[in-house]
């Protein structure tokens, strides 16, 4: 999966990795809101925010090439959407279309890199622990735990099913083979449900009482 490099980096050790998750979550949220709320066309605050972010990326020792690759992947889409949203932006009449567009791009990039920095310094289970301690309902946290555990399993299951389908069907690519693809999705959902039932039975057999325990977090009731 494309997340893996960043995911692995989250398990390194560094000053940002050791910081309390709740602080990191709140700081990221505050930073993103501050960036997004910066008025269009004011470059100095954006530059300061960029420097601040660069400092934290350096502190986290995340490979800039990795961040850049992920950022470029989304840039095209955001550029396209930003270009058309800028068309009707209230500030367009004073500043011109290009300025509005560039500042939407810049603000989006800063927010995007900030979220990736959070993901690159915090393993997901720890992030969930932080969310729980910030008051997220236990039902959602356990659901997120299960989702995180099985995303990789089901993604690779999907890859296996796709490969099996492609080795058995000889359709020209590009044709609308929606029947096959929806069959794939339906099968995937049914399999994930059945896996869920088996996992639940297996967990009951091991004495599960509805509480998810992680090695470094407190127990949480669901």
């Amino acid at each position: 999966m494309r997340l893996e490099a960043l995911d692995r980096h989250a398990y390194h050790n560094g000053p940002l990795h050791r910081a309390d998750v709740r602080i990191k979550l709140c700081a990221t949220l505050a930073f993103v809101i501050a960036v997004v709320a910066t008025p269009v066309g004011l470059w100095r605050p954006l530059a300061i925010e960029g420097l601040l972010l660069a400092f934290f990326v350096g502190l986290a020792r995340i490979d800039p090439a990795l961040l850049a690759r992920r950022w470029l992947g989304f840039l095209l889409l955001v550029a396209f959407l930003g270009a058309t949203v800028a068309q009707s932006h209230p500030a367009r009449t004073q500043l011109g279309w290009a300025v509005v567009w560039l500042s939407i791009l810049a603000k989006n990039s800063l927010a995007f890199v900030a979220v990736l920095t959070l993901a690159g310094t915090t393993p997901f289970p720890k992030l969930l622990d932080g969310l729980r301690r910030l008051g997220m309902p236990a039902v959602l946290v356990s659901t997120l735990h299960f989702m995180n555990r099985y995303t990789h399993v089901l993604t690779s299951e999907l890859a296996r099913m796709t490969q099996a389908r492609r080795s058995r069907t000889f359709k020209r690519s590009g044709r609308l083979d929606w029947g096959l693809l929806t069959g794939l999705i339906g099968n995937l959902l049914v399999r994930s449900f059945e896996r869920g039932e088996r996992v639940h039975a297996a967990m009951l057999a091991r004495g599960w009482d509805g509480t998810i325990r992680t090695l470094d977090g407190e127990a949480e009731a669901s």
């Binding site: 949220l29 927010a111 993901a119 299960f146």
Partner: protein, 334 residues
């Protein structure tokens, strides 16, 4: 349909959407607690992972010769399998993971994204699905209800997105944009409806017990197929026409629409589904009265989706348990 950061940049709108999202999610979770058994979180988590993986399946499309692909959104689908509250929670978890791990969908737009796809997609979609399912009855009702619900969920989400944009200081051509968004998403929604319908048909013929039924009682015997079908269609059409008046003002902003049309083109990032169909919907003589065009698109779309649903319902394999409506089969067949 994942709104990135900085597209909505008015702090008040961010706060308002976040507040609605938090309130809605809290309500969904509290409703879920009533039906919560220890199994629920396991099933929801794994279904969320399944929806997450299913969104990676790309459907090949041809948009004026250029290969484009779209994928499933899944709000209606998860609601059909887990109920409205479970479905909304599943969408919330998928969005949180996509936002925090992949950077897909902005952190500041998380609230707006959940309102559009979770609250509108799952809960409003279910509100349309449930009466239709009851009215038609049996697996046919599940299928048609899911398709019509999926179509409306895309349409309503597009309308909400327009409203959120307008609220952040872009009221100038609100009605224009809304008209176009409804028109374009009437077509996109057909794609989502067909995908949802085909997947639901598959699930109905393999594990009909996986479809969520709130009453858990045996499905009522369908009354008169023709009567109930017409009644369900009437409800759907009423909602479609209810949307239309919003689009009926400012009929002469065609220049602005040119720019907006580009904007709409992009916003369907997730599902540039059946776009080549739009010219059919926006019948040339009607373009100047977008209100009428929109209402027509609403009616045509509803009829198309309904018709497709009936065709699909007719092809459910006969002789499978699905024919007798959702019921429990061999739970340990896994």
């Amino acid at each position: 349909m994942h709104i990135p950061d900085a597209v909505i940049d008015d702090p008040r709108v961010i706060m308002a959407t976040s507040a609605i999202a938090l309130g809605g999610l809290g309500f969904a979770v509290s409703r879920l607690k009533n039906q919560l058994r220890d199994k629920t979180t396991v099933l929801m988590g794994i279904t969320a992972a399944g929806i997450f993986a299913a969104q990676m399946v790309n459907f090949p499309l041809f948009f004026f010769g250029a290969p484009v692909s779209g994928h499933l959104l899944g709000g209606m689908l998860s609601a059909v399998m887990l109920g409205p509250w479970g479905g909304a929670c599943v969408i919330a978890t998928v969005l949180i993971v996509q936002c925090l791990l992949c950077g897909d969908g902005g952190l500041s737009a998380l609230g707006a994204n959940f309102v559009n796809m979770g609250l509108i997609g799952s809960i409003c979609g279910y509100a349309i699905y449930e009466p239709l399912r009851r009215a038609i009855g049996g697996s046919r009702g599940v299928l048609i209800g899911a398709m019509v619900g999926a179509w409306f969920s895309v349409l309503l989400a597009a309308g909400t997105f327009t409203f959120e944009l307008a609220a952040s200081g872009r009221q100038a051509d609100f009605f224009n944009v809304l008209g176009w968004m409804v028109l374009v998403h009437a077509a996109i929604g057909v794609g989502e409806a067909v995908i949802t319908g085909l997947v639901v048909r598959y699930v109905l013929s393999v594990r009909p017990d996986l479809i969520y039924l709130p009453d858990a009682a045996p499905v009522a015997k369908p009354i008169r197929w023709s009567q109930t079908g017409v009644a369900g269609l009437g409800i759907a059409l009423a909602v479609a026409i209810f949307l239309a008046p919003f689009a009926s003002e400012h009929p002469d902003g065609l220049e602005a629409v040119g720019g907006w049309f580009k904007f709409i083109d992009v916003s369907k990032e997730v599902q540039p589904a059946v776009t080549p169909l739009i010219p059919d919907y926006q019948m040339p003589g009607l373009t100047r009265w977008k209100g009428i065009a929109t209402a027509a698109a609403g009616c045509v779309g509803t009829l198309v989706v309904f018709g497709l649903g009936m065709i699909l319902a007719g092809t459910i394999t006969r002789g499978t348990p699905a024919e007798r409506g959702p019921e429990r089969v061999a739970p340990d067949a896994a």
